[in-house]
Assembly symmetry: C2
Homo-oligomer: 581 residues x 2
């Protein structure tokens, strides 16, 4: 596995060299900087003398192909600091790197192919001429030198490369499909959410339809939780600094906290998570062992001070809604509680058709400084998770170093309809917070007994979950999730009265139904309902009224013929109740 | 009305003189400061050489009575600045006041009764000896000189005074009753909410029971709104400064805003209200007149940077939950929308047994600088409200100067079971925000037409509403609102199985029911259920099982006898459905 990754990285980084070689040939006044391999491809950052655009990509790709013919291998050379700098006259970026890399007096490595060479630490393919053929430039973006706003803005060219043309074609096709499904486009098009310049980036505003979808999801999770003894609690979104000093979050998340100084000079923070607040509710009284587990659930917003450049649609936001829950229980109750949450996750994700696997997110024993608590506590916690995963016979794998700083996790990964994998639900065992906040119950012997905590978000962030769900379904939500489940389309004004009595009958049956009473052609009404991806269109004309039926049309041009309203209602209610896909 | 108020104020302020006279006689080293009339009484702030306590009140009251015998009248004297200061050696507070009051070179007025006099602007009773007899000292508190934390902490003595002994007795009785009902005590006792030192004052944490009650209230409001075409929207709790610069809130609420500087140096604020966010959702697209009104509703927290000393239980908090809604409509639709909201308010408050009256909160034409917008806009808005109040034949009165800075309001006042009046719901017409944010629809002529906005909170702040409701009911919530509606009390372990099947049958009927399975005496179980003010206790013993009945006991010792479960379920469901009081 590791070897395969290394091969891919070498391929990608080698292609970055090829891109730079072509750019330098086409525009010799360009200042090159760095070109690393990244997930799914590579990029190279340049300072161009004159701006270029994506329209220049064919020209660059053509030049890359031309140059590639002359590249038999990557040849290593070593230069002194001064010689290295001479290779880049007027290029402060490379000079900065050269000064850093040679700080200990080391020689600097350069790699040469054809007549192009560049400062480089190595990691290339053996036979570029043969192996680098299947590349493509993807997009152009601005990027600050070394990621800092204070530095020069450079031009970043992204590209990708694969061992075979087939793999490249598949990837490009997937990219195109993903772009069509992009939630950043589909969301506003389906009128689910919007952003406002005045409110600011990373702060989505939820329209009536989007709010409906959020609440359907949240209610679904809540029903699964309620059946397992969870209770809702409500918490303020701010707290005094002291809470996070005890929890340890103040130090760990300092940079990402939105901090507030009150008019009296107190330090507050907006909550980046909910556990310390839930702990304060738990800690309001002494508990008998008979009263445990206590299971608290809140759907509530958390806040992180993300950098503007890293924000993206609903995937990365500054205010996100967690469907969060915490279980406070005795050590020997944790396993049962874990299994309950596992079942909730299973039942929830089934309703979307995701294929799931689970990562046992363990701590990295080589970096104990990254984690709270001692090794004994960690071993005991991780052993329990492994046992559960084994008993559940799950598609599980271990992720060393993926644990939270306060405990190990089960992270569920969902594969979407495009084959992309997303980290979604998480169940976390926590034996550190109970120590820090001195959480206990009075046991059978009348003694204070240390308890454990379980963190259990099902969607995690509703925003992020919805970004995945919108793209997974390409906006075509199953009927149970669709904000509008059916729309009634009277053919002319004559049917409006009848159409409204159908509307009210369906509403009475709990169906989310609308009516399009506009004086427009039925063709236009159908087209617009299709655009909104409404599952069912009920066309009402003279004929239907006479026959006491509705002409049912499913989205995607499926004509279901004329049905009685009772028949259709029965059908759609069954579809909703079973959460059919 | 005004005259009566003035008389009361004179009475109260005169009694403050009397209090100070007694204190100075008892502890001559005390430094006097100020003693104004306040709502329901008066206070006087002192710097004592040695601390006193409420145990000293009888002694002070005795001295006040003694002194009162010598007070025939209040006699005005005028002193120069220097002479005035000589009256208060070593009293920096009085010197500060004297400097201020004589800044323009004016003489300073002193008022004398008996052998006591004090710097004073006047406003006293004519015949203190007769009129001041019916007073009582109430409590002692710390208070900063001039309300600023930076200043010396003084000792404030509160008292009250009435024209007759009967009025005084009534008031004291009401105070005692209010103290018994104090939500700050009852809330934690009924386990509805808690506060945490670590989270901070003014930030209530809602327990499962409290959250249940909040949600019952919120769902009630939502059902009333849903029936009238409202839609839920969801908004982040922060925003860029720019939003509030346009709305005008940045200037108006600057001091009360929790402000945030992001790591990138941007200025954000936590929202102190929701209208600008809702406006941004409305403004996501162009609207046809056919699509109006748009009615957006959010139950969401707002934040105000209140001073620690002003916080009080749920009545004054730093994070409060608004059941907020905004209607965006055409000018000629506003009246109908207002009436709809009026009906919601009426239906909601009826379920609590509050007696309602409504204040027409108008602007003060003498201070146009306090309000956004022009006089013409204000007249048109206020005329509409007056017309509606008249048509509704409401118990209405005018409150000049009580308007919001953006428009006039209808403020509903609820009289509770103690006769106290609280401002609760509010409906506000707003013709200024639409100007500021350029809100419009396309009218029949295809032109952009300015619309109006209506702000419509029903509870206002759920926290504050609950503080009122808890005290109004003395914690004895009507069954529809009680977090636990019935509790099943098996007499011994033998009935536990049967008791659980009753529990499940009742849960299946949507009743909020618990079971007390502890191995305790039935007497203790009943006492504790009474303490929790649970409406019904169902005692299950051998006899009940044999007769297939439940022995029903209502709170407050009412024995309802043995009923079949079906009969009891029918009874309680009817009680809940009709929201019977």
């Amino acid at each position: 596995m590791k070897n395969e990754n290394e091969n891919l990285n070498n391929l990608r980084h080698s292609a970055a060299h090829l891109l730079a070689a072509a750019v330098m040939k086409l525009w010799p006044n360009t200042k090159r900087t760095i070109g690393p391999a990244i997930e799914d491809g590579f990029y190279f950052d340049f300072e161009f003398a004159n701006p270029i655009s994506e329209k220049d990509f064919p020209k660059i790709e053509k030049k890359m192909k031309e140059i590639l013919k002359t590249w038999d291998k990557f040849e290593k050379h070593e230069l002194s600091k001064d010689d290295a700098k001479k290779e880049y006259p007027d290029n402060p970026y490379k000079h900065e790197l050269i000064d850093e890399f040679s700080a200990g007096g080391e020689k600097l490595s350069f790699y040469k192919s054809g007549d192009y060479w560049d400062l480089c630490r190595g990691g290339h393919v053996d036979n570029p001429k043969k192996e680098l053929q299947h590349f493509k430039l993807l997009k152009l973006a601005g990027a600050y030198w070394r990621g800092s706003e204070k530095n020069q803005m450079l031009t970043r060219i992204y590209g990708t490369v694969f061992p075979t043309q087939e793999e490249l074609d598949n990837y490009v096709k997937q990219l195109e499909e993903a772009e069509k499904r992009d939630h950043k486009k589909l969301g506003p098009q389906l009128d689910l959410f919007t952003f406002s310049e005045l409110v600011g980036p990373g702060l989505p505003l939820w329209t009536p339809k989007g709010t409906l979808v959020r609440n359907i999801l949240d209610d679904f999770v809540w029903e699964l939780r309620r059946a397992r003894g969870y209770q809702k609690v409500e918490i303020p979104h701010i707290t005094k600094k002291e809470l996070y000093q005890i929890s340890g979050h103040w130090d760990k998340f300092k940079n990402e906290l939105f901090r507030i100084e009150t008019r009296e000079g107190h330090e507050f923070a907006m909550k980046p998570m909910n556990c310390p607040h839930h702990i304060q509710i738990f800690n309001r009284k002494k508990w008998s062992y008979r009263e445990l587990p206590q299971r608290y659930s809140s759907t509530t917003m958390c806040y992180r001070d993300e950098q503007t450049g890293e924000l993206s649609g609903l995937s990365r936001v500054r205010a996100f809604t967690q469907d969060d829950a915490h279980v406070f229980c005795r050590h020997d109750q944790a396993e049962e509680e874990f299994v309950k949450i596992w079942d909730i996750v299973h039942e929830f994700y089934k309703a979307f058709g995701f294929k799931m696997r689970v990562r046992l997110s363990l701590h990295n024993p080589e970096h104990p400084e990254k984690y709270l608590g001692n090794p004994k506590i960690w071993k005991s916690a991780e052993d329990m998770l492994k046992k559960i995963a084994k008993e559940k016979k799950a598609d599980a794998f271990e992720g060393v170093g993926e644990a939270a700083f306060y405990g190990p996790k089960l992270d569920f990964m969902a594969k979407d309809s495009l084959g992309r994998e997303w980290q979604v639900a998480t169940i976390q065992l926590d034996m550190n917070m109970p120590e820090r906040f001195d959480l206990s119950c009075v046991n059978e012997k009348g003694e204070a007994e240390r308890i454990v905590m379980i963190h259990a978000a099902i969607m995690g962030s509703i925003e992020r979950f919805l970004s995945v769900a919108i793209e997974h379904f390409a906006g075509v939500f199953p009927t149970w999730l669709a904000p509008v489940q059916a729309i009634i389309l009277p053919i002319s004004e004559k049917q409006i009265k009848e159409a409204n009595s159908i509307l009210n009958a369906m509403k009475g049956n709990g169906i989310r139904v609308e009516i399009d009473e506009r004086n427009e052609s039925i063709g236009k009404k159908i087209r617009e309902a299709e655009m909104q991806k409404i599952p069912y269109m009920l066309v009402i004309g003279e004929k239907e009224i006479k026959e006491k039926k509705v002409a049912v049309r499913a989205r995607n041009q499926k004509d279901l013929g004329a049905l009685t309203l009772e028949k259709f209602t029965e059908k759609i209610k069954e579809e909703i109740a079973t959460k059919s896909l």
